[in-house]
Symmetry: D2
Subunit: 345 residues, 4 copies
């Protein structure tokens, strides 16, 4: 019998990207996966084609209300909802349904971090959908509740994890990550208008106040007994998709040693790719793919390790990570429906 | 035994897009298609990854010289070469090899048109790889020489063919088509630099001098006994991919009648999609896909039919059309490896 | 005594651009112009710097409510308000104040056109702020009510006026004009979000329904006794500023004759520049300037005249035209504070 | 008698921007400045309009060869040449001519730094055209040789100077600066093509190898006796102009103290603007202007000071800094011809 999948928040960017990936999933092509209810908030009643004209095979589907009633009866539910909406909804749904939350509600294990950055009661923590982190893949096998990581935490944790875990850096990291506008979601904000975004780069959430900061710290702290500090600055660039993260930490090792640590850490990872020496990540190379491109450098004059990573924030950074986690949870091949081939130029 | 495919001009945009599509082709996934020689001109000797970092599975492949020697021994050869290079190369290769030319050399049937627009002797005409044109699909079945249409002729011929063929317009058409920078290829020209292209729109080839003009006229003229005239203006917009063509011709019919003509013409076409009334094409909706989105309008005050079409110039406009033609020529399912799902936003 | 200027709608794009130009006006530099009240609707109470950080010298100014009370007591008032708001406001203000309306309310002379395209009662027509149209400059001298043309009517009327007035074309014109996102104003619409606009081109208002259509027709009809028809299609491109208009009409003249008509028509116009043969307009060349770049072509095979024009929609297309009209109305040098130098690349 | 100015390298981006600013200089408007020879290398013999259509008043000027013969006889010469060409040319020109070099040749005082980063013999050091650095303004008064700073050193030195000079940070700084494509000049490189740049962000010169690294370190080291270390990563974003620099250093002070240091340092600087609390720099706000926008933050959890700066790389980062230096050298008002008003959106 086919696995029935619902997507809540289907008119948003995360929901749309989950659907794009499911439409290309081999288990969808052969009927083992079915796309069931597509739900929305204010957009309920309209067709999917009005919001995502690129999803042509589903264009005529009518969006239903996001509610436990419309979502029950599925085997897997992807949630692409504003922060704070997942907990109540999940509580109304049977434990047996695999719920994969693209939102933040269940990412942080520390209640105080949650409350200080999100300003609401902590709902708890679910298995964390970043299989490449030590121990994470195992926790996802058979899981029925999964918290998909934030896009910045995905790009930066994978860039820094080998260095932190191996102890080749002092874990006082400085991160500046440049992202495209889709990272802010399909929100009606003046500062996200095309006229404001095009031809301009700007910082936001400067000074440690971005909500992904504690999540990055949590990921890195889990790899070392030393105290981790994270100075994180997100930057918005004029493009729709992509994250390029520059991650810097003090080191005393040389290029060869640093590279060896990364080669070993990611040798068997299907989606994490260490570029050959002399090549540098660019977001266009991973657009639409689940790949993570990394380059590793030692700046011996400054005494720093510099790791640059590129991901597609909507694919590996959100919906791709979600589908990868679903594959693991359901026992499907981890890479099914996910590609390392980007769309460029 | 697997079908072995070579790509000549693999470091260019057309060659790269052919490879992207082949990597996602189901016959490649199950071993019935193999990717053989990848060749280049000046870039021979370098790896594919240096030019197309998005084609990760082929990144280590070394580019060979483009020559009959390196290309012989394959079953299918895609040519992504500068205009004028295909004829000599094809003449050296056995008739039994399926050669699919993404260049212009064999598109025009009229020698005088060729000579006047390209300034060199006419090499002849091959079966034309636009299956949606009346009669074209049949001519591609079993063909071993195929001329892939130009990107503008694809976008505009499909937009206008039903109207011309049905006689609902006077065939004096005015076309303004906006394209992304990849349409000019990976050419080192100052006017294609990012600093020149971004934040600016400009016309080029104005006044009937663009080389795609006679090809559009040829396609449309094949559909009517009336004399066709084409006023075609291409416009460059700040994006990498996509064509949006606005096609206008005098008409006396109304919206309903015009729409009916298009619904009938494309009812069974897997890649041509007439948008519902009230929705308009946008290039992002077809990015990376083989889909053609159309909208049909009658401006009764001006007495004109206006058809707007959107394609991805590198996919349906080049490499997608090429793979679609290959599928037909080889007897594979026409849609194999080609999607109607775009990558957006 | 200094001329005191108020700007209503100062937090929008039109208002911001008026202020940018006034800050660079020589009469502002030497104190003959003063910038008085800056007003807004919902943004009243905030500082200008929150909305226009590029207007540094005025960053601390607090926006007042848009009302007759705050605007009275000025010598000149620029209105950058949503359509339909200017008439009531103007009625409350003394006839002696020079009111320059960047909105549409007083552009159309034909009440039926207004009602059919705007769906509200016609407020009347004011002198039309396109000095380069025959007769317009004279009507602006000493005027105290001025209707600034729409951005598309500016770009297209100047492109076509000499051809229509001289009779070298049949006045059945087809126009496709590509614009940047600021043309839609600072409106919170999903389809104007950066993620939607970047990497995509789309048509809108297709089929003669765009509100600038009757205004273009009115301008062209005033130049000929023949019946004018206008097929107008606007296209949105991924840039903030600029309009590139391709204007096509049947002709029997040749290139030389067509060019001579344009050279004569614009010989003395300070802002309209006919490019030398072989050069084509690009919007970056006019960015931030009040210049209009034109190229003129005859496509003899198609029997059409093709005129391409480029303007900055916010400068010559809105605020520059407004300041130019103010200069004429007040008896200042027409070019004061306006440049033919763009900001590029 | 008028001051005669020549621009060598007039067809490049730096030369074009110098000319744009000179055309708006009040001393040009009233005849005290004259624009004399415009010279180029390979582009000699063509008109300026072919390269810079935005500089309409100079469009018909024919470019001469770059040589001592064509440049002699001017009072001021701006050099916008490839690195390594200024020294030989300057040696052939009289000491009395004010030569303002937009290239790198005379920026570094340390010969070993020069040789290790540029691979050629050190030509020496000229007065450094960053008037806002302590002591620099004085050294420019009456100077006849001026080295214009690099764009990154301008953006980052001004961001960090007050913190380093006041001792509120440990001078181990981490900088990630995002720039537009014009920073690479008008160079025919595949990786600068529009198709490669648009829709993508990439790092380059990672690991301390970018040539601006020793210049940044030189500027900061001049402010403290402590050893300065600089980890600098440049990032290319899809826009033509602008730099946004994120500069991070360890600190123990709080927000209030840090802000006070910057308020004091820049209280009298006409071009450096500390944004009010809660506002962050964006490059569009400084586009085409000579302004530097700064924001200052303390991340107390990470123990870091984060300063974000925005400049236009071609204006304040190159040609604006050059004109500002010329003004000082000639005894003109320092701000003449330079604006703090950007062109936005």
């Amino acid at each position: 019998m086919a696995i029935r999948i619902a997507v809540a928040g289907a008119s948003g960017y995360a929901g749309g990207e989950v659907l794009r990936l499911l439409l290309g999933h081999p288990a969808y092509a052969d009927g083992r996966l079915e796309i069931g209810a597509l739900t929305a908030g204010g957009n309920a009643g309209s067709t999917l084609g009005e919001h995502h004209p690129h999803l042509l095979p589903l264009a005529e589907r009518v969006l239903e209300d996001t509610s436990a009633a419309t979502l029950a009866g599925h085997d897997v539910i992807f949630l692409g909802l504003p922060h704070g909406h997942s907990a109540a909804l999940a509580a109304e749904l049977p434990e047996s349904i695999v719920i994969i939350d693209c939102g933040a509600d269940f990412r942080l294990r520390n209640a105080q971090d949650w409350e200080s950055f999100y300003g609401s009661p902590h709902a708890g923590a679910w298995p964390y959908g970043l299989p490449e982190l030590p121990g994470a893949r195992e926790s996802l096998q058979g899981a029925t509740r999964i918290a998909v990581p934030g896009c910045y935490p995905t790009a930066t944790s994978l860039a820094l994890a080998p260095a932190i875990a191996s102890g080749i850096v002092t874990p006082a990291v400085t991160i500046v990550a440049v992202t495209g506008a889709s990272g802010a979601g399909r929100s009606l904000r003046t500062d996200l208008l095309g006229s404001e975004v095009m031809g301009s780069v700007r910082a936001y959430g400067v000074g440690g106040v971005h909500r992904h900061t504690p999540e990055i710290r949590q990921n890195l702290q889990s790899l070392t007994v030393e105290d981790v500090s994270v100075s994180f600055t997100p930057v918005l660039a004029p493009m729709a998709r992509g994250i390029l993260a520059t991650c810097v930490a003090p080191t005393t090792v040389d290029d060869t040693e640093a590279r060896a640590v990364y080669e070993k850490a990611y040798a068997d990872e299907p989606f994490v790719h260490l570029l050959p020496p002399g090549r540098l990540p660019q977001t266009s190379a991973v657009l639409g793919s689940n790949a993570v491109h990394l380059s590793v450098h030692v700046d011996s004059a400054a005494g720093t390790l510099v790791v640059v990573s590129a991901i597609d924030n909507l694919t590996k950074g959100t919906a791709g990570g979600a589908v990868q986690s679903m594959n693991i949870a359901l026992g499907l091949p981890e890479t099914a429906g996910l590609s390392t081939v980007g769309v460029a130029p």
